[in-house]
């Protein structure tokens, strides 16, 4: 049995110093993913720094009209918060489509950003996985890859990011606030998660010892509408086969702002920039929306078992954008 030291931090500074950037240290939020991975032997931390008592549990409007979500805000509270529900329906909907009520009561905003993939090979110590053990190979690329990536994967890793929240955050251009040994910095959510490339062991650009302190939601364009929709194998409590988060603003029937992100298709929330470009300035029709979505998904490279994801994501996004554009 591996002993673990546990420390409950009362300030960001104390947490950072207890963690110290050591590879064997982990910040502990709701524990809904980390503790599972510890049980499976995938994560073997020696030091757990409990950050749930840090003063980072507020959702507050900022003077510039943006909304700041503290890193330890529980998923349930985030989804239910009036500011989030009114201004960012896409964020609230995404959170509520993830996990179960019990898990959302525990899971934190910061932790959600750092969820590991649910690739079954990653979770099984007996299987080759470059993400778990760099250089060991990828059993999924030749194995059962029904749930895996169709965009942005590499020969070394075909895992997907499992988060629903992050897909919505990518679509609203949220910004991650980090505190670290070298001071604070901010990173757009769209640049926070990495593609696997040669280093699938790195899910994000977070640096050793850095702590997510919050997420900033910038104001959406006036009159913008947003929506999140997820397709999964049962009505709740399952990860996305494909999901889409979309924000649209129309003026005089023309699209002035479009932000579209896919979940379940890639190692990170996938901003569909080609789709957005194709939509801007157009008067949306069923055909134009479908063409715009196709423009992004033409890049997809499906694996043996997951070609369905491309057409599923296409129809899903076309439906969501089509229905948003009639309500915008």
């Amino acid at each position: 049995m591996k002993p673990v030291s546990y420390l409950r931090a009362s300030s960001v500074e104390e947490a950072a110093s207890a963690h110290g950037g050591r590879t064997e240290a982990r910040y502990l939020g709701g524990g809904t993913n980390l503790v599972d991975l510890m049980k499976l032997g995938v994560e073997r931390p020696e030091v757990l720094v409990d950050i749930t008592r840090l003063p980072l549990d507020g959702v507050r409007e900022q003077p510039d009209g943006s909304v700041r979500v503290g890193a330890t805000v529980r998923n349930s509270d985030l989804a239910a918060h009036p500011l989030v529900r009114e201004r960012y329906p896409v964020v609230s909907q995404a959170v509520l489509s993830g996990a179960s009520g019990q898990l959302r009561n525990m899971a934190t905003t910061g932790g959600n950003l750092l969820q590991r993939t649910r690739c079954a090979y990653f979770q099984d110590l007996a299987k080759a996985c470059n993400k778990r053990v760099p250089g060991s190979g990828c059993a999924a690329v030749v194995g059962v890859n029904h749930d895996h990536a169709v965009l942005g994967h590499s020969p070394h890793c075909v895992a997907t990011n499992p988060s629903d929240l992050c897909v919505a955050l990518a679509a609203v251009d949220a910004v991650v606030e980090l505190a670290g040994p070298g001071g604070g910095r901010t990173v757009p959510v769209t640049e926070f998660h990495r593609l696997p490339g040669d280093h699938p062991e790195l899910d994000t650009v977070i640096r050793p010892g850095e702590l997510i302190t919050g997420v900033l939601l910038p104001p959406l364009p006036r009159g913008a509408v947003s929506h999140y929709r997820k397709v999964r194998e049962r009505a709740s409590y399952a990860f996305a086969l494909a999901s889409v988060a979309a924000v649209l603003q129309l003026e005089g029937g023309e699209i002035r702002h479009a932000a579209v992100a896919f979940g379940g298709l890639a190692h990170r929330p996938w901003r569909a920039r080609r789709t957005e470009t194709a939509l801007l300035g157009t008067r949306p029709s069923q055909e134009s929306v479908a063409r715009a979505v196709e423009a992004e998904l033409a890049e997809a490279v499906p694996l043996r078992d997951n070609a369905y994801k491309v057409s599923l994501a296409r129809d899903l996004a076309t439906q969501v954008l089509g229905s948003l554009s009639t309500t915008a």
Binding site: M1, S100, R118, A235, S236, L312
Partner: protein
């Protein structure tokens, strides 16, 4: 004495409910005898080969580790009929997940850490773990599960099919499925003073006792097995599984009590699964829908350890009259974990395929599917020629149609649209055989008015304690509250397992006989009862096991309404309704639970459940409860279970048929048929997940 004629059938509340929800009810590994150790199995990570080396140094060096049992050091076991229990007897690896060592430690954490520290190398051999189309290795076994002949043929079914004016020739596929009871398999074994006492999560502790006695060369009297509360089994706890053998070995080896619980992932490879089945159905009829030929051919897999053949073509021997028929099974022995019983083995996958094909025939004929079934209602069991003891299938279909609102249905597929959704309804029949085994029981009347029933029944969540008290109360003519039921230990009169929907019939028969005998004794008795009360015993050997001159089966009808999202391929079941003909229903409340539970499991089989074999390793991959999708609450719609009043004098003294399994049979076909009605597309491979449905629309 008050009148208690209505004890049977009443919706009596389950007796152990409070103990369960307050945590007072103890399950097999919640017993902790003093000095208890913990065991954790090390399981093979290759699909075929031999252990080349086992390096235990790192494991043994860890703190609190007591020992590691390997094929070299483990106690020798006597041979038994069940080769899946011959664990740690040789270096052979017959499938991924096979136990190759077991770590024994002072704590569960230490045991698990040491299990990970065991270093293993293998001499591997090429393996094949995926059942392909028409596998070359498939052979016809002598028997399928349940002792059914693998092949039965009446007349010239191929010729009759070829000559039939209306034909359906289709293939249906069901993937491997996992039982996944809520309580994982676990045991606490205690070898002390030449006796073995075992708490086991089992559907029948008498079988566990006999097998352990045989394996360890002990007289049965020196083995006690207790299964007081069991958190589900669905067949996977019907006979002893390797966990209890490993726990007993570890206790015998150390002389101390040992607890062992399988992890959710180990469960999928060590306790059995429903084998995948590939069905070819050929139905030929005349223009009026009268069947001339029924051909149901099944291909399935088994392991190299033991032959288990899912008897999926057997229900076609029962269901419909036809001039000719062929029902046949082939099986390929692959490098896979050993399949076994899962709720309604044979009937669940077999009736999915048969009832889907019957629906296809109804469309080919343009006849209502209920009417088509009614037209082919046989006067006697088609295969055996025996008269049915009772058969009210058509009544179930008609009553279900009335309750469901079937008469208003427009049969045309693919025309009911609500925005992105297409809706439809479907129907399917259900059947399950009446099984019953001999049992013993005693009933005692105490001077204080208490009546005690003793029988080694097992309550796997069904409410066995409660219904047996009802059986005794009715037979004795006393209040059910005056009856206490003692079950779940081999210290009690010997009884068969809770399986094959036979438990209540088997135990109840003996309880009934003992109660009637006691009632006679009480009538003859004068004066106060002796301090120990009066006891009557019964043994139904010779009566319960008598071959019946009747074909005895329960029947039912399932109706489903579904909505299919044409953008995403998501299928949502809106309504499920079942009507059953199951003899006398003995407890309206717990019976409803059983029916609904079966229907929910059938919904999972239809829409969400799929065991997946990783071809490279031969492992079930992603098969824990996060990856193997049993229905969540949000998937479960309005469900209704009803039954018709069925009197059958040819069953048992209570007049009951089993109800534990029929709820799953036919549910998947009703849902699949409803999906066709909604979309106009036949999806012939389960589960109906969004990838398949979206791709097919």
């Amino acid at each position: 004495m008050a009148s208690h004629a209505n004890a049977l059938g009443a919706p009596t509340e389950r007796r152990e409910g409070r103990a369960k929800v307050t945590g007072e009810a103890l399950y097999a590994t919640e017993y902790t005898p003093p000095g208890c150790l913990y065991a954790w199995p090390v399981t093979a990570t290759v699909a075929r080969g031999r252990i080349a080396s086992l390096d235990l140094d790192a494991a043994l060096a860890l703190p609190d580790v007591v020992d590691v049992l390997t094929p070299e050091s483990a106690p020798r076991l006597a041979a038994s009929d069940d080769a899946t229990l011959a664990v740690l007897q040789d270096a052979k690896v017959p499938h991924h997940g096979w136990p190759i060592a077991v770590v024994i430690a002072e704590t569960i954490e230490a045991a698990r850490a040491a299990a990970e520290a065991v270093r293993v190398t293998y001499d591997t051999e090429p393996h094949e773990s995926v059942l392909g189309d028409d596998p070359a290795a498939a052979y016809r076994p002598e028997e399928a599960n349940g002792g059914h002949p693998a092949e039965r043929r009446r007349g010239e079914p191929e010729a009759a099919f070829a000559a039939a004016p209306v034909r359906v020739d289709v293939r249906y596929r069901v993937p491997p499925l996992h039982n996944h009871p809520m309580e994982p398999h676990g045991a606490t074994a205690n070898w002390h003073d030449g006796r073995l006492t075992v708490y086991d999560s089992s559907q029948g502790s008498d079988t566990v006792r006999s097998v352990l006695a045989e394996l360890f060369g002990l007289p049965e009297e020196q083995v006690t097995v207790i299964s007081e509360h069991v958190g589900g089994g669905f067949g996977s706890k019907g006979t002893p599984r390797p966990h209890v053998v490993l726990a007993a070995m570890a206790s015998v080896h150390t002389g101390r009590p040992v607890k062992l619980t399988l992890s959710r992932r180990q469960l999928t490879e060590l306790v059995g699964h429903r084998a995948p089945t590939d069905h070819r159905l050929r139905l030929g009829s005349d223009d009026e829908g009268t069947l001339a030929s029924v051909i149901h051919e099944v291909t399935t897999h088994t392991s190299r350890v033991k032959e288990f053949v899912e008897q999926a073509a057997v229900p076609a021997r029962v269901m419909y009259g036809s001039a000719t028929s062929l029902t046949d099974h082939k099986v390929a022995a692959l490098d896979v974990p050993t399949p076994s019983w899962m709720r309604a083995p044979g009937e669940a996958p077999g009736m999915y395929a048969l009832e889907s094909a019957v629906d296809e025939l109804a469309y080919a004929l343009d006849i209502d599917p209920i009417e088509l079934r009614a037209r082919n209602e046989p006067g006697q069991e088609p295969d055996s020629g025996l008269p049915f003891s009772s058969r009210h299938l058509v009544e179930c279909l008609r009553e279900g149609a009335r309750r469901f609102g079937w008469a208003d249905r427009d049969a045309r597929p693919g025309i009911r649209r609500e925005g992105a959704w297409l809706t439809g309804t479907g129907v399917a029949s259900a059947t399950y055989p009446v099984l019953v085994s001999p049992s013993r029981a005693t009933v005692t009347a105490h001077p204080d008015g208490l009546h005690v029933v003793r029988v080694n029944a097992t309550d796997i969540g069904t409410g066995a304690r409660t219904v047996l008290a009802q059986v005794a109360a009715e037979a004795l003519g006393v209040d059910v509250e005056s009856v206490r039921t003692e079950i779940g230990s081999t210290g009690l009169p010997r009884a068969p397992l809770a399986g094959g929907s036979s438990g209540t019939a088997s135990w109840g028969w003996a309880v009934h006989d003992a109660s009637r005998a006691l009632a006679g004794q009480l009538q003859r008795h004068t004066g106060p009862l002796p301090p120990d009360g009066l006891t009557a015993a019964a043994d139904t050997k010779g009566s319960a096991d008598q071959k019946s001159p009747y074909a005895r089966h329960a029947f039912g009808a399932h109706f489903a309404e579904v909505a299919v999202d044409t953008d995403t391929g998501e299928v949502r079941v809106r309504r499920l309704l079942g009507v059953y003909a199951v003899g006398r229903v003995l407890n309206a409340r717990t019976a409803t639970s059983q029916f609904i539970g079966g229907m929910v499991m059938g919904l999972g089989m239809a829409l969400t459940e799929r065991g997946t074999v990783d071809p490279a390793s031969g492992a079930f991959i992603g098969s824990d409860l996060a990856g193997y999708h049993v229905p969540a609450h949000a998937d479960v719609p309005a469900i209704e279970a009803h039954w018709i009043d069925e009197r059958d004098e040819h069953l048992n003294p209570m007049g009951s048929k089993g109800i534990g399994e029929i709820g799953i049979v036919g549910t998947a076909a009703a849902i699949g048929n409803a999906v066709h009605h909604a979309t106009g597309v036949r999806f012939r491979e389960l589960p109906l997940t969004p990838d398949r449905v979206h791709g097919g629309l």
